[in-house]
């Protein structure tokens, strides 16, 4: 691995600090002295636990003395501290903060410095592509802003990166841009900077024996600002002297460099290069060849190569270029691996992101489905509950109604049974106790009361049993040829004795006396009797009429029973046929009669109905009810 710029961060920081104008010897940044003291403290304690407090203190002091530059510098310290700590997330946060503050305070040099710090961080992490991306981005922003300092600073930094990456042409172009900006700018900050290093680097890339090399070194000398600059120029001249075999001059310059304690800091690989040169002058080329691997910088390889050319050692030149090619290959391999690794990471990230998105989508869909299911479930449960409650309420109402109707039925039954029973028991007692004093006529009259009421009791019991049979499906019909008028006459005779005092009764027939139907004679008669009995109960005066006719409904014979009684309210026209239904609960009746009529008629294929128009005309001279029982003729 090539590690040419491991200390590039430290050097650049030094460079930056050196580039900044001074107010006083001990205040390189020309900031408030109170801030500078804190800055120095924080700077020396970076990476220590007290660093964040000192940085915060510097911010506070800078605000207090209203020193924007010191305030911005506090953010550079925060970023540098993060870089030292190596936490990428924190680095990127501090990087963003520094850029923002630098923009606000208009100290834009720190804006670009933020890029450089992050780029150096990635470079030292071996992530060269990313490092280069940040530096190129810095340059692009500077160009976009047309900020000379940014352009100059970023080009200078880019040239270092290119040199470290053995990109000779790119490094040269970057350096030429640095020179161009320097020569064309009116920015005093840039003009105050040293260009020695840039010119020396240009010289190194131009060939150690060329005139251009000398010209660049001359320019380096002209633009030098510090002792370090002249030292670098001396080193460059020493190298050139060695290549030109000017050994005496070389030795003078070499010694000059070696004596200067700054030399290793100004040119890190300088001492090693000078050692190699000494070996070369001593003819120990094999040693140099063996130790070529220790060199790391492109300029140093080029130097040894030029030196070998001077001494016609083409094999060494070849080895140098082999080494360069190998380093380039390694560099490319590094970059390739880096790129591959970054690609893999990127792909992994993409896959991970995709998986996360997929999972999120799935989770969202699942949530959605769950929510929908829950809502549907709630709606179903809600509707179900409402329906269930409604059903329960209906069942409750039905049960209550059924209970009330049964209570009513029992009460009715008591009445319906006890009244005929009263006659049977009562008249039986009369005959028993006073039989001797009774006339024969009286006895016969009382016996007929007993017989009739016994029949009524029997009918009631039959009604209950009939309904029970119908409900249980045990009801049997005996279909025969029945004579319609005969059925009517028999029914009329059955209820004759129940017709109230003062109420006229009649049977009228419109049909031929031989008209017959196929039906159950007994059941047809039962329906007509029930109609007539019903009329007897509700009529206190007027007339009860039974009529047999075929003129009311086509293809049907109709048995119509009409009375002049209390009538049926229109709204009760259907309900009157329901079981236990009674218009007046105080009236006699079990509430079964009309229901039995309806059930029986259905069994016989007939229809029972109340004539809704009967007795309702405004000028009607009568009121009452008329019930129809229609049976098909054939």
């Amino acid at each position: 691995m090539i590690k040419p710029f491991r200390t590039i961060g430290a050097i650049l920081i030094l460079m930056l600090t050196a580039l900044l104008p001074c107010k006083a010897q001990n205040n390189l940044f020309n900031i408030d002295d109170s801030c500078y003291v804190i800055y120095r403290q924080a700077d020396s304690l970076l990476d220590s636990p007290s660093a964040p407090n000192l940085i915060a203190k510097l911010k506070s002091q800078a605000e207090k003395v209203n020193d924007d530059k010191a305030y911005t510098l506090a953010y550079t310290l925060a970023l540098r501290n993060a870089v030292r700590n190596g936490n990428e997330t924190e680095i990127l946060v501090r990087y963003g903060e520094l850029k923002e503050i630098a923009r606000k305070t208009s100290y834009m040099q720190y804006y670009f410095y933020a890029y450089q710090l992050v780029s150096v961080y990635y470079f030292n992490q071996g992530q060269r592509t990313k490092s280069l991306e940040y530096s190129i981005k810095m340059h692009e922003e500077a160009v976009a802003m047309n900020n000379d300092y940014g352009k100059w600073f970023s080009s200078k930094y880019l040239s270092d990166l290119y040199l470290a990456g053995y990109k000779r042409t790119s490094a040269r172009n970057a350096l030429l841009e640095v020179v161009d900006i320097y020569n064309s700018t009116k920015d005093s900050t840039i003009r105050a900077q040293s260009m020695s290093k840039s010119y020396v680097n240009l010289a190194f890339l131009s060939g150690y024996g060329t005139q251009q090399y000398l010209d660049y070194v001359e320019l380096a000398l002209q633009t030098s600002k510090l002792a370090a600059d002249t030292l670098l120029v001396d080193y460059a001249l020493a190298c050139r002297a060695a290549v030109l075999k000017d050994n005496e001059n070389y030795k003078i310059l070499r010694d000059k460099c070696r004596k200067n304690t700054l030399f290793p800091r100004v040119r890190l690989t300088g001492p090693q290069v000078l050692d190699f040169t000494d070996k070369a002058l001593a003819g120990e080329w094999a040693y140099i060849d063996e130790q070529l691997g220790k060199l790391s910088r492109l300029e140093d390889f080029l130097y040894i190569s030029d030196l070998a050319v001077s001494y016609d050692l083409m094999w060494l030149v070849s080895d140098c270029y082999d080494a360069i090619v190998q380093r380039l290959a390694e560099s490319y391999e590094d970059r390739l691996n880096q790129a591959l690794m970054e690609t893999e990471v990127m792909l992994e990230n993409e896959i991970l992101n995709k998986q996360i998105i997929d999972h999120k989508n799935k989770a969202f869909k699942l949530m959605l489905v769950l929510v929908v299911l829950i809502v549907v479930l709630l709606v179903i449960v809600g509707i179900g509950s409402v329906l269930y409650v409604k059903k329960l309420n209906k069942a409750k109402k039905d049960a209550e109604l059924s209970s009330r109707m049964k209570t009513q039925f029992v009460q009715n039954m008591s009445h319906e049974v006890r009244n005929p029973l009263n006659a049977v028991v009562g008249f039986s007692q009369l005959i028993a106790y006073a039989g001797d004093t009774l006339s024969e006529e009286e006895k016969q009259e009382y016996i007929s009361y007993i017989t009739n009421n016994s029949s009524m009791l029997m009918m009631l019991i039959d009604d209950i049993l009939d309904l029970s049979d119908i409900d249980n499906g045990n009801y049997k019909l005996y279909i025969t040829e029945c004579n319609c008028n005969e059925i009517c006459r028999m029914a009329f005779k059955t209820v004759e004795h129940r017709i109230p005092f003062g109420v006229k009764s009649s049977f009228v027939s419109d049909v031929p006396d031989d008209l017959t139907i196929h039906s159950d004679e007994k059941r047809v008669q039962q329906i007509i009797i029930n109609f007539l009995t019903n009329a007897c109960k509700n009529t206190t005066d007027g007339e009860i009429t039974l009529r047999c006719t075929t003129s009311i409904k086509d293809n049907y014979v109709t048995f119509a029973v009409q009375d002049t009684g209390s009538g049926v309210p229109l709204e009760q026209a259907e309900a009157i046929f329901n079981r236990f239904s009674k218009l007046d609960s105080k009236k006699q009746g079990s509430g079964l009669g009309l229901n039995i009529c309806k059930m029986l008629s259905e069994k016989l294929g007939g229809i029972v109905e109340l004539d809704k128009s009967y007795g309702r005309a405004a000028n009607a001279s009568y009121r009452g009810a008329r019930f129809y029982f229609h049976l098909p003729l054939k």
């Binding site: 009562g426 007692q429 009369l430 009361y449 009236k587």
Partner: protein
Amino acid sequence: MNSNNQPVVLVVDDIATNIVLIKALLKGRNCEVLSAQSGVQALEIAVQSKPDLVLLDIMMPVMDGYEVLARLRSDAATKDIKVVMLSALAKDTDIKKATDLGADAYLTKPIIAPKLFELLDKLLTI
């Protein structure tokens, strides 16, 4: 009491047979028997004839026996008439209701003749 100094009994029932039966049972007893087939008719006769005792059915259309009893008790002219309920209703609640309204006695159908005679003897001191 009628002009013959006989107690007057009013039988109220919407079923004619029951009236015939009561009349037959009371025939030979020293009392005059009047009858009504509805509550309204019973009240009219009660006011006009001032019977000593009313044998009153409960389940009748239009105006039931309870209402007839209540009206008899609320009218100064009839409030002292003895009233015996004679009904097919035989539940305790029916009997209590009639007693609360001021009935003197309660008989259930079918009528047991000796019980009826005993009660009439007691209430009318026939």
